[in-house]
Symmetry: D2
Subunit: 341 residues, 4 copies
Amino acid sequence: MKDRKPVYYSEYLQLDKILNAQEPESAKEGIKADDEMLFIVIHQAYELWFKQILHELRVVREVFMQPNIHNNTPDIYNSVHRLKRVCSILELTVTQMGIIETMTPLDFLDFRDLLRPASGFQSIQFKMIEATLGLKYDNRHGKAYYLSQLTQADVNRVKQAESEVSLLTLLNSWLERMPFTKNAEYWENNTGNFWTNYREAYKNSLSEIEQVNMKMFDTLFTNDAEYPEGRSFSADASRSALFIMLYRDHPLLQLPYNLLSLLLEIDQNLSMWRHRHIHMVQRTIGKRVGTGGSTGAEYLKGAADSHYIFKELAELTSFLLPRNMLPKLPEALVKDLGYCN
Amino acid sequence: MKDRKPVYYSEYLQLDKILNAQEPESAKEGIKADDEMLFIVIHQAYELWFKQILHELRVVREVFMQPNIHNNTPDIYNSVHRLKRVCSILELTVTQMGIIETMTPLDFLDFRDLLRPASGFQSIQFKMIEATLGLKYDNRHGKAYYLSQLTQADVNRVKQAESEVSLLTLLNSWLERMPFTKNAEYWENNTGNFWTNYREAYKNSLSEIEQVNMKMFDTLFTNDAEYPEGRSFSADASRSALFIMLYRDHPLLQLPYNLLSLLLEIDQNLSMWRHRHIHMVQRTIGKRVGTGGSTGAEYLKGAADSHYIFKELAELTSFLLPRNMLPKLPEALVKDLGYCN
Amino acid sequence: MKDRKPVYYSEYLQLDKILNAQEPESAKEGIKADDEMLFIVIHQAYELWFKQILHELRVVREVFMQPNIHNNTPDIYNSVHRLKRVCSILELTVTQMGIIETMTPLDFLDFRDLLRPASGFQSIQFKMIEATLGLKYDNRHGKAYYLSQLTQADVNRVKQAESEVSLLTLLNSWLERMPFTKNAEYWENNTGNFWTNYREAYKNSLSEIEQVNMKMFDTLFTNDAEYPEGRSFSADASRSALFIMLYRDHPLLQLPYNLLSLLLEIDQNLSMWRHRHIHMVQRTIGKRVGTGGSTGAEYLKGAADSHYIFKELAELTSFLLPRNMLPKLPEALVKDLGYCN
Amino acid sequence: MKDRKPVYYSEYLQLDKILNAQEPESAKEGIKADDEMLFIVIHQAYELWFKQILHELRVVREVFMQPNIHNNTPDIYNSVHRLKRVCSILELTVTQMGIIETMTPLDFLDFRDLLRPASGFQSIQFKMIEATLGLKYDNRHGKAYYLSQLTQADVNRVKQAESEVSLLTLLNSWLERMPFTKNAEYWENNTGNFWTNYREAYKNSLSEIEQVNMKMFDTLFTNDAEYPEGRSFSADASRSALFIMLYRDHPLLQLPYNLLSLLLEIDQNLSMWRHRHIHMVQRTIGKRVGTGGSTGAEYLKGAADSHYIFKELAELTSFLLPRNMLPKLPEALVKDLGYCN
């Protein structure tokens, strides 16, 4: 360490780049538009945070790309920690929208025309975040519109991100590998099949009118042959996820439960961001053409309503039972879900 | 003052009532459900804030019920101040949702069945806030469902609130009374009719493809005969509102502009509250029956999408012009929009 | 369940109590002071949250009062979950200060004299929170002043809270019981004493000028005979706490680490609350006599500077080593710190 | 407009610079330290916001450098708007601290030594913000330490900022120019001198024990000969500021009142930022040497306790009277404080 060159704040942070990257178009045209600086700075701050989110998601993805992370809990601990941070950053980005909302429509009009046809839809990093989490091109809202806004190079960058294995896919594999409900050593010889037990308990918990829920229960958890196509999670993965939600008090399942919860929270935070973004855009631009073209507002709404990536996890909540109705786990399993000493 | 009884904190705040109003149903049944306390406390905190919001809105309503508040600016100043506070409170209530989100679905299940059929839809104060702002029964989403959840006494309380003059109505009258664009002394003898001038400037600002916007412009601002029925704001009021947005830099219009902006912000904050509420409900309950009955989730979504009260104000943004294209105001009007010294 | 009386929202929440507990003094005197409602409501909201915090802390305390919670991780998991919630609530109470800050000094003066001598210092629940966490009477700032503000009944309530075993005390016992660094089976026969190893590694990490830190290191971790009196944590407990911070990646230590971190976060959030409170008080009242008497401001500052309850935990940060310099743990210990399967 | 080159999002924002300015020292050394990216990104985000705050303050300063802004209210309106935005940004920067707090001490240690001796104290823009607001070199805490941390070029930049006329100075001049309490036309011939009247009313409002406050009242508002030296605001300016606070309901004083309030809020937000910063530093580094050298923590505390720039404004709160005790203003003055129509 001793021979290292001393580090100086402004050089370390490359502030010569960061603080010299604001060139308002209005200044170029000799137009006074004091708010364009804010417009530039806040978008740059967003892009910095998007870079950080991508960084965290990639670290998590690397963890889940390991063939066997089942017992390697520092990795899961680390992943949970990083997803928590992603949630915090997303919360901040929602709050940050309040700053751009201090720009009034009239102040925006001072320089708006100068930005055509640039648009926030052209944020590649945001699309890469969605892709890294698991949003597929086919599930994107307004595909044609979205392509029309980007250069080919940028389209390629997003496509590249979509072609890599996503967190959603890795999570599915990880859940599939879990042995808790399917391992015969735990179940068949002892207390019967877990799903038979659980199905009965769940059925008993429903009032007559609620029995209609059994159909979906069976589709998802019992009849693998009828498991619907095109879902993000396989039948095995869905079962493991539900099991984790139910028995999350056991040591080995605590972190996996936190992980699932955080993915839902990321979905929620992205959704809150999109809704506040829509409000901000409507307040600042109204229903006229956005800087990115006329269908901007509808695109935003469509994306906000459909870009839920872990929706299938969220739906499992419907199939939970209160703790006092949960089937008891076999002792061997309880032991394996515990600490060692 | 000297003869007043000394005031003591806990008596002044009636803490004997406030802190003895938490009786968990689970405790009555001898069931351990530590999170029910949170469930009660947070709902009580919400109701306290709703009471405060209603209090502020009523103070503002009283101001606007005066026959001539045009020159009485302490009142407008006061109203702006109070609406700003309402916005702050609404922001807090959105943040506050984060506390209930710390309750996991499994922890909620510990006592959820004991609450049937109680439901947050039964918050009368929230409905009274909507009514006081200007939401009419006819514009409520899911009217039948909403009635089915309430006692007759509570329905009556909301109906009573709906029958009183709303802020929306009062705002419309106030805007109608404004003389700025219609006063012949300012306009006809001098620089021609304001709307003729503005129409031309607006038309010139549109590209060929955007000329399609002129139709709506004329409908709203030019041809009173064709003004659409059923709108919240009259033609006169819409014109005044647009005028305020355009010339808000003049002293007399600064507070009115702030007022309009704050009403839009209230709409936005209510919308953010509803969206976060939906997320919270879905995360905690899933798609099963809520404690208020099965159509809860759809009701929430419907209300979130349609209960915008000042929507017509928000839409005016589409018809703004940049400052450098604004028609110049006659001197007499500029003087009347200014301070006196 | 079937025979239970249906629950109705307003009855369940006892809204008749909650919403009828606001009686402004100004109204009694026929004085118009519209902001007194806010003053009452926000203090009531604070007291509701303080009640909830006390509830959570008591649940955690019960967990730690069990003689052997070492292996009973659902309890630690639950405790971590609850302390996280306490942090969220405290964050909200800091944000909530922004609402009372919308009250201007002049608006407060409209009713301030009517409240004499009531004062926020009379919030018993806040003092009980401090006591439950571990603040002792002897460590309270401005003891005489604080007693002078309360009725005897309220003093007794706080004294009662102070006499009960605090979280700080329970935490100390729990840390003392931990065998990780002192168990001869792990250490003496294998890799030598942990503290000998760690001391050497720590010493090596210090530059010449930093060697001065060794004195405090030895005082805290090596020479039990010289361990300073009057500390909250015993020598054994301090050692366990440092060990947890260092090896928190191991499964068994993950939750304990989260627990320690959350206690520090609670201290920090309380501190942020106190600082924002001081600002608010100064902005609203200035340096004149507060409603609670003349030394209010100084009392607040004194408390803000000295009421850190887990200060000794915070100080351990100074004695951490980077992961790559950490002494390797014996295999038997690593196994015992891991999961079982 | 038609001939302008189309603008593209990533070029407009110069994302090639912004997103390629992160080069972790740990990567250069081949050390795995995933959190260094966060450390870089969050500091860059801070510097972006500091640049924006400086931008807003400079716009406001330009307004107040005009010889006569008394009647030019669009400028004051604009200034209030911008200071409000500065407050919002500062609030965000406090919240943003929560992100860096997700970095644990152990994770920071992975790369901390590589950064020596860089330090956040080397943020020139933060010091320029303080200087632009009005902090003088002589009032800086720990002057020697602060100089020792900076390159000469950076010291010069701060000195340059300190040598320019500050907002504090400009505000003082603006307040001095106000005629409201000293204009003989309003006062002497009519209702006597304002300060004679106000002094009597204030004196009457004090209880016997509070009469001690009169000494300071007279020092500040009555006996110019005894006005203390070295204050930021002159006697005239202090009087105008108090007058604005008292009669802020009159149209002409509404914006000036908002302006004063926002400057106090900026002071408060800076203070909250500093306190949270101290907590973060202590939690992450403990009491060992910071990357900027050993006296870091004390410097931070000293600055937090003493860098209040508008302290004298805050203290005026002590001399307010309730509205119902305020001396009545002469009609001519009321007219001049009102709108024109």
